[in-house]
């Protein structure tokens, strides 16, 4: 009996991209997903706020080109993360449909895409903006890959506490693009995201606990239990509150920021306290509804706080 020439396996082999033999060949969209576009959008937004909040203006073309570099750098980090975590991503419900674990793009290719985009984004940012901003972008990518992904993620429940720094750098890079350095305002914006990351990530871990347990990633609920995680969420939320209000003591924030950040932070604390008061049984009974609500609100919170800074910056400019 004649064997069909183009079986799935033959197609993948013919493609030459080294993806899994039983998976369809990658589409352009798969390469887009490899760059973690949702994470990228948050990075662009916070970097944009950092850039616009800075006291010195930048030519719009330089600003857009520089933000593109940051976006590409963030995407490169995502690709490198998918390369390293391909084994555990395949086991987790939340990540198993990503292009690498689904087999549409090989881990090796993700590595090369990530490495190439890292070099490209840093090199172009040094030309478009300045060497300090490029160095910060390189530091961010390296921190996310080597410190968070390769070292902390699988070794300590404090992974997101320290690793959160990687996600906190973008507004600092934005500020650096405009000023060529780092100011106290940039450090405060860094601090807001840095302190916000643990409660945000632990809330996710509370309702994705099964995923992390299965692959042995020692997220706090896996390592210390849900009760302790709720307590830590409250502690970090309380610690985050003064940092979130700190911009009021700098020129980048005014009454609007005070109002928005004040209301949102109070609500953040209220929800965190609500989580703290819950028992494991109550959380299990309602399918972790409050944890999901807190996670959703935490995204809205960061967006709201940075949007307020953005509006203040635009208001000052006009």
């Amino acid at each position: 009996m004649a064997t069909p020439i183009h079986t799935d396996q033959a197609l993948s082999a013919e493609s030459g991209w080294g993806a899994r033999a039983d998976a369809p060949e990658a589409e352009a969209r798969d390469y887009w997903l490899l760059l973690k576009p949702r994470v990228m959008s948050l990075v662009i937004f916070t970097a944009c706020v950092g850039l616009l909040a800075a006291p010195h203006g930048v030519h719009p073309v330089i600003a857009i080109a520089s933000l593109l570099c940051i976006a590409v750098g963030a995407g490169a980090s995502g690709a490198l993360n998918m390369w390293w975590d391909a084994d555990i991503d395949a086991e987790m419900e939340r990540t198993r449909k990503r292009p690498v674990p689904a087999g549409r793009i090989s881990a090796e290719e993700a590595l090369w895409v990530g490495a190439a985009l890292s070099v490209l984004s840093v090199a172009l940012l040094s030309v478009f903006a300045n060497a300090a901003a490029a160095a910060l972008l390189a530091l961010t990518i390296a921190f996310y890959l080597f410190v968070y992904t390769m070292w902390l993620k699988r070794s300590t429940p404090h992974n997101v506490v320290i690793g959160g720094a990687a996600g906190a750098f973008p507004p600092m890079i934005g500020w650096c693009i405009a000023t060529g350095g780092i100011g106290v305002e940039a450090l405060i914006m860094f601090g807001i995201i840095f302190m916000w990351t643990p409660p945000h990530s632990w809330a996710l871990a509370l309702f994705r606990n099964d995923d992390y347990t299965r692959v042995g990633v020692p997220m706090l609920p896996v390592a210390a239990g849900e009760t302790e995680t709720r307590r830590q969420i409250l502690i970090y939320s309380v610690l985050m509150a003064p940092v979130a209000m700190a911009p009021l003591f700098t020129p980048i924030a005014g009454p609007l920021y005070g109002l928005v950040a004040g209301v949102l932070t109070l609500r953040f604390l209220q929800l965190a306290y609500g989580l703290y008061r819950r028992t494991d049984a109550e959380a299990a009974a309602d399918n972790r509804r409050a944890e999901k609500k807190f996670f959703g609100f935490s995204i809205l919170y960061l967006f709201g706080v940075f949007l307020a800074l953005l509006v203040e910056a635009v208001w000052r400019a006009i």
Binding site: P4, H6, E25, Y31, V61, F128
Partner: protein, 51 residues
Amino acid sequence: MAKVREEEYEHELHERRRGRNLAVGGVLLGLALTIFAVTIVKLGQNAANPF
């Protein structure tokens, strides 16, 4: 039957590759335009402040 399946695969394969090629082309064009625009701006700034 096998021939029909083969043609479907061929079609899908070419569709995917076409999409990828267009995406790569778009990205390269975007990169070239970005570098061009930044060059013009930087040249303009330097022309305005030659010293």
